[in-house]
């Protein structure tokens, strides 16, 4: 059953939907297309967001004349 339903949206259509529609519209369309009511409340783990923010805080980019940009990550 699900296999038949999922065929109504290609990856490219989904991509365009995610890029061009506002968030509310995007979620209402994917709920409709996939019946995925739970997906709106799905978000990345807090630890992942922390990792990203810590990476950003620890990252220093040195712009050098001869070797280009040098990335240094400090703890």
């Amino acid at each position: 059953m699900q296999v038949l339903m999922k065929q109504t949206l290609t990856i490219n259509q989904l991509f365009l939907l995610a890029c061009n529609e506002n968030e509310k519209e995007f979620f209402s369309r994917i709920k409709f297309k996939f019946g995925a009511r739970q997906i709106e409340n799905t978000s990345p783990s807090e630890s992942v967001i922390k990792n990203i923010l810590n990476y950003s805080r620890g990252l220093s980019v040195l712009k050098t004349k001869f070797t280009g940009n040098v990335k240094i990550i400090l703890n």
Binding site: V3, T8, N20, N22, I30, F34, S43, I52, L59, K71
Partner: protein, 195 residues
């Protein structure tokens, strides 16, 4: 459209100037949409977390390197990075299959998925499609009509509403009941619809 106090452009400019809070704001603003897109394609929460993390690591590297060109299309750019990482993941996993041997009854032929469906897979899929069609015949005519128009003719609900001379809400309602009734029929008749 939801109005944001600060535009993505402003937040990025402030982040470039060293305001780390702006990165947090921008991640929280777009995280659900980006994550939902990744999850819909990879269908694995942990993997989606990894790809989400890699996406924003790339975003940070590009911005901090000074390579990001602000054209008012921040979310489109982030989605493109996420999309490319998903494609990379599928390419790698196809090239390097991973086998789960945690089970004692492990049999390699249970886990290998060949690119092309085997004759057996095709037969099973055809059988599933036939079973679904038979079940649809048990539905009331108006529900059957909407279901066929939507899933077999790929018509929009707007077109279905026009064709059947009802409102879009009625068409949606009929579709909803068609699916509820189909699920009931699957349970009642004990039909297995998996490969």
């Amino acid at each position: 459209m939801k109005a944001h106090a600060e535009s993505d452009k402003d937040l990025i400019n402030r982040y470039i100037s060293g305001d780390q809070i702006c990165l947090e704001k921008i991640i929280y603003r777009h995280k659900n949409r980006v994550f939902a897109y990744i999850l819909l394609l990879v269908k694995d929460k942990q993997l989606a977390d990894d790809i989400f993390q890699d996406t924003f690591i790339k975003v940070i590297n590009t911005i901090r390197n000074g390579s990001y060109q602000e054209e008012g299309k921040f979310i489109q750019w982030v989605m493109r990075i996420a999309h490319n990482l998903i494609i990379d993941h599928f390419r790698k996993s196809k090239r390097i299959p991973v086998f789960d041997n945690s089970n004692d009854d492990f049999d390699i032929f249970d886990t290998i998925k060949f690119t092309d469906a085997s004759i057996e897979d095709k037969m099973i899929t055809d059988q599933i499609h036939q079973d679904v069609r038979k079940l649809i015949e048990f539905l009331p005519p108006e529900q059957k009509e909407v279901l066929f128009m939507r899933h077999y003719s790929d018509m929009s609900f707007k077109d279905i509403a026009e064709q059947t001379d009802v409102s879009i809400n009625t068409a949606l309602g009929r579709m909803r009941y068609a699916l509820i009734n189909l699920r009931k029929l699957i349970e009642e008749k004990n039909v297995i619809l998996t490969t």
